[in-house]
Amino acid sequence: MAAEKAQALVLRTTDWSETSRIATLWTREFGKVRALAKGGRRLKSNFENALDLLTHCRIVFLRKSSGSLDLLTEAQVVRRFPRLRSDLAALYAAYYVAELLESMTEEYDPHPLLFDAALELLDALGSPRVDEAPVVGPYVVRFELVLLREVGYSPALDGCASCGGPVDESRLAFSCAAGGLVCPNCVGQFRDRQSLSPAGRKMLRTLQQPAEDALRQPWEAGVRREVRQVLSQYVTYLLGRQPRLLPYLGS
């Protein structure tokens, strides 16, 4: 039974008993971890504060042998994201990030880049900057593309996802089953195909790159909607069900 230290984002907590609860944490060092927090429901404790949803905290936990729950022994707030409490679009985007992290990754499968991407979104949307209300869509798309790459389902946007050949620039077709764009030769095999405009493809490709200014580019609303629809269908396909937060999500 080793004591581990980690940076974590709180994804979910469920009551376990009158005084304790189970926290699902997304750690930079270990990926998803579920741990029992004894006394985690006692008011006014620092513990209680750190376990509020989507808090960035530093934790210490005892890793148990397989079959029993890990035990959370310390949790300290590193930072929280106050704008999530005053901007519904930002709050729902952050909830969506929590849902994807919880449902699309396995326990003890670390992806530090994914942790950083989640933090980048929370920082951009959840920090108080009175002068600007960022458009949430591009931040969510950037996060989804990092997530998809990390779990091995990065959408093919350059060549055909099926045969690797060139795609028809004038009639782009995206298939969730193929895992990206498909060329005119292969398109017949994929009945779930949907059209994608060159501008939509450009937005996806640009946001696949890490450049920060891409997030604040004035993407046209119609293009943002199209990209949102394509990614929503792709994530729904991969997950086998519609994410709960999708209906709340703006583009």
């Binding site: 979910r12 008993s17 009158e18 006014k44 404790s45 620092n46 504060n49 509020d52 949803l53 989507l54 808090t55 707030v77 999530l84 409490r85 005053s86 901007d87 519904l88 709050l91 729902y92 909830y95 929590a98 849902e99 709960r244 937060l245 709340y248």
Partner: protein
Amino acid sequence: MDTEPVGAIGGLMRELGKLPGIGPKTAERLTHFLLGAKRSDVLALADALRAVKDEIRPCRQCCNLTEGDLCVLCADPRRDASVLCVVEQPRDLFALERSATYRGLYHVLHGRLAPLDGIGAEQLTIDKLLQRVRAGGVREVIMATNPTLEGDGTALYLASELAATGVRVTRLARGLPSGSGLEFANSQMLADALEGRRTF
């Protein structure tokens, strides 16, 4: 290995063991106490248990738990009906009533918006609250949902839904408890108190 008690005695132990703060040992002790108690006392307990489930229902107006059509607060003409305080659970209402400073009425949501758990506006008494405010006569709605992300999110959602009505929407202040020292406050209470500071 212990043999699990069966029949009526085992059933009672299992039921008592489901109560908060009651482990198997206590459940066993309570069971034996009840077995030895007077028949009339035990039946009075059984009747009281049945009554809370059969006779308690949500108040027609505020959704607080009550035995009648309207709860005692809604039925009290001395309460200020132009101010509504929105809480998550009846226990929050009881906590505010204990503070003995609030003279308005309440609205009990019976939960908070928790989209990650599939709890949306339809699962709460939000429609009823909006109807109540739109019907007129309300000048202020105080959001007293818990200061968690979900509680704050619920207040934010309600505030946006109520914006069109023109009613004043306020949020409970948070920060330091009166009568206590700074050194006893945790870091979040201090941060909240600084954020919510007021001019003298």
